[in-house]
Amino acid sequence: MTEQSLLETRNIVYYYEGNKSPSLNDVSLVIKKGVKTAILGGNGAGKSTLFYHLNGVVKPASGVVLYRETPLSYKKKAKRELCSHVAVVLQNPDDQIFGQTVKDDAEYGPKNLGLPPEEVKERAKRALEQVGLWEKRDQVPLQLSYGQRKRLSLAGAIAMKPDVLIMDEPTAGLDPQMALELMELAEQLHHNGMDIVMSTHDVDLAYMWADEIHVLRKSEKIYSGPQEGFYADRDLSYSAGLLAPAMFQINTTLAAMRGESPAPYPRTEPQLVAKMAPGSKRGKMEVIVSKGDFDQSYIDSLSAEGKIVGIYGTETRKYISANNLMVDFFFGGIESCLSQLLNGKDTVVVCDPDCVEIVEGKIKDMSAFGEPIDYTVTDS
């Protein structure tokens, strides 16, 4: 993997008006291209302030912010240009929703980019479909639930097709299903070339997703690197108001008690299960690439063979719910199927065409925790 710098801060310092102590104090970090990055820290640590620097909305009192190794310019035109490359989705959707209707709102960003009307409409439609809100396109945003408004503000950002999507607490206030769906969308966008940076204090969620973390504590950066390095220092993570993810804590403690090395580190439920119960009789996995051409009787025929069926990808999810189809795992599909497979069940994951590599990647990641998984890829 190339370690190209995408966004970088060098010794940035920032004070909010009237504050004597800085909200960011000498923060230097490099967010690398293609590396899934999470910014961690307690409430008030400086995460949101950092984000406002990354898209040029706020200029540091001192220090430099660089995008693709070029220092940001704070001229009006350059700022506008940057915003089309680096989109920030705020924690509170109401700070970001302006449109009269859901569709208007999703069109706002692309319109501002000066795109032709056809393209604006097309992008807004696609983005609303991805977040599952196309059916609500004519509604007034105020009538939407909090979770829906949250997804609408995300759609507005995706519609701009930014190079980098920065999300501040994307899953806060969402129920588990919506949170997992959102993480799946993030994975899909990332796979299709959009770089994703998110801030969160959900350490368990970040542990499953991120390649690298930057940790802020009281306006200062205290760690950059892989997650295990941070949590291995329990005093450091505890002092930042963060607790080690349950998976990490359980794995390292048990490894120490058994006198084994903690690596490989399980980051998902099936990985932990595989490590805890090695040598189990495993089932197989069929990855079926959805062309959106199957019905309930097809799924029932798989179930009749004793197979557990899960899904992955926004298109497949849309197809399943539009046709009222029933599967075993509508969200968290891969992880649930992998755990079932370890328990000897044969499983099927129906996924979007552009998700096959993601699914295969997750299957191959299991190889670190036992025998490689027996799987096939076929069309629906």
Partner: protein
């Protein structure tokens, strides 16, 4: 005895709704039971809360408090709300006054208590949520987490018999979340019945004795959590994720051909269950604190649990390693064979002792010493 009860309750916000927000729901909450309400967004959790405290009057069926149907007169409802307090998810819907003090005073003032009593309650509630030093601050200058704690203090000042918390940890970082749950433990130990709604199934699994699960206005489960989570597909169809400790224990037990019970609900219990046989646990020196604490010699970590203990340690200038989630942290040390010291509010002593001793059920005995 049931403290709060729904009998065939149906409620719709308006007549155009295709499906009522609560549809023929019957549930019971027992006094002193730690009860959680879970379900996806829009399942009917908030409607349930507002039906409990009489803000919503059911279209059909009834609500009972201490076995008596609610009376929806102004007078009766006012009295009811001194007993049953709801803290909503968004603190801004609950904070009205200009300063923290006047905001927390709002509830007790409405109860026509003497001024000194109101004052005492404000001091005490702000202490419990760790916001004493912000007493004179304007509410608008507070951060989200601080506002959330002020809205909680406002409810505590009423000293309700039943405290209903809607997403008490949403938007809070891990430290603050654990601090809120510690406060909840404290309230439970002093006789308040606490009901919590949340999306954080991992957090709630370590706390709740009973869960009530709603899905699109229907009651789909009530009882011990394991009875619900054991059906993976049913859990998923309700839009609810399974707690990781439950799920991993379940799969590992099945694969190994062992009983799933006893069910570990915390990391320390999980590790204890999976630990090599013959693992000897560490000792936890549990020190009950009324209002004074004395320093002790130890080579292990020192934790502090409960707000009175924290205050006493601060006054005695004793430093601690574990300032939040300390009971669990000390138990994690114990299953690794490490000794530790835990200062704990006297009211929470029995609960802490019971939880530490419960580790033996999972295979590692951690001794409590005085």
């Amino acid at each position: 005895m049931s403290l709060l009860e729904f009998r065939n309750l149906t409620y719709s916000y308006n007549s155009r709704q295709k499906k009522p927000s609560l549809d023929n729901v019957s549930i019971k909450v027992e006094e002193g039971r730690r009860t959680a309400i879970i379900g996806a967004n829009g399942a009917g959790k908030s409607t349930t809360f507002y039906s409990f405290n009489g803000i919503f009057k059911p279209n059909a069926g009834e609500v009972l408090y201490r076995d008596r149907p609610l009376v929806y007169t102004k007078e009766a409802l006012r009295e009811l709300r001194n007993d049953i307090c709801v803290v909503v998810q968004n603190p801004d819907e609950q904070i009205f006054s200009s300063t923290v003090e006047s905001d927390v005073a709002f509830g007790p003032m409405n109860m026509d208590l003497p001024r000194e009593e109101v004052d005492r309650r404000i001091t005490n509630s702000l202490e419990m949520v760790g916001m004493s030093e912000y007493r004179m601050r304007p509410s608008t200058q507070l951060s989200y987490g601080q506002r959330k704690r002020v809205s909680l203090a406002g409810a505590l000042a009423v000293r309700p018999k039943v405290l209903i918390l809607d997403e008490p940890t949403a938007g809070l970082d891990p430290q603050m979340s654990r601090e809120v749950m510690e406060l909840v433990d404290e309230l439970c130990c002093s006789g308040t019945t606490v009901i919590i709604s949340t999306h954080d199934v991992d957090l709630i699994y370590s706390w709740a004795e009973d869960i009530i699960v709603l899905n699109h206005g229907d009651l789909i489960y009530s009882g011990e959590p394991e009875g619900f989570f054991s059906d993976a597909a049913k859990t998923a169809s309700a839009g609810v994720a399974r707690p990781h400790t439950f799920s991993v224990n379940s799969y590992v037990s099945k694969i190994r051909g062992k009983e799933e019970a006893p069910y570990p609900r915390t990391s320390s219990q999980f590790v204890a269950k999976m630990a090599p046989e013959g693992t000897v646990g560490g000792k936890i020196r549990l020190i009950p604190v009324q209002d004074k604490a004395e320093a002790v010699q130890t080579s292990g970590h020192v934790g502090v649990y409960g707000y009175a203990a924290k205050k006493a340690l601060k006054e005695a200038d004793i430093s601690a390693d574990y300032l939040f989630d300390a009971l669990e942290m000390c138990m994690q040390d114990a299953v690794k064979g490490l000794d530790s010291v835990l200062y704990c509010d006297a009211t929470m002593y029995d609960m802490a002792k019971e939880r530490i001793e419960a580790l033996a059920k999972f295979g590692v005995k951690a001794e409590v010493v005085q």
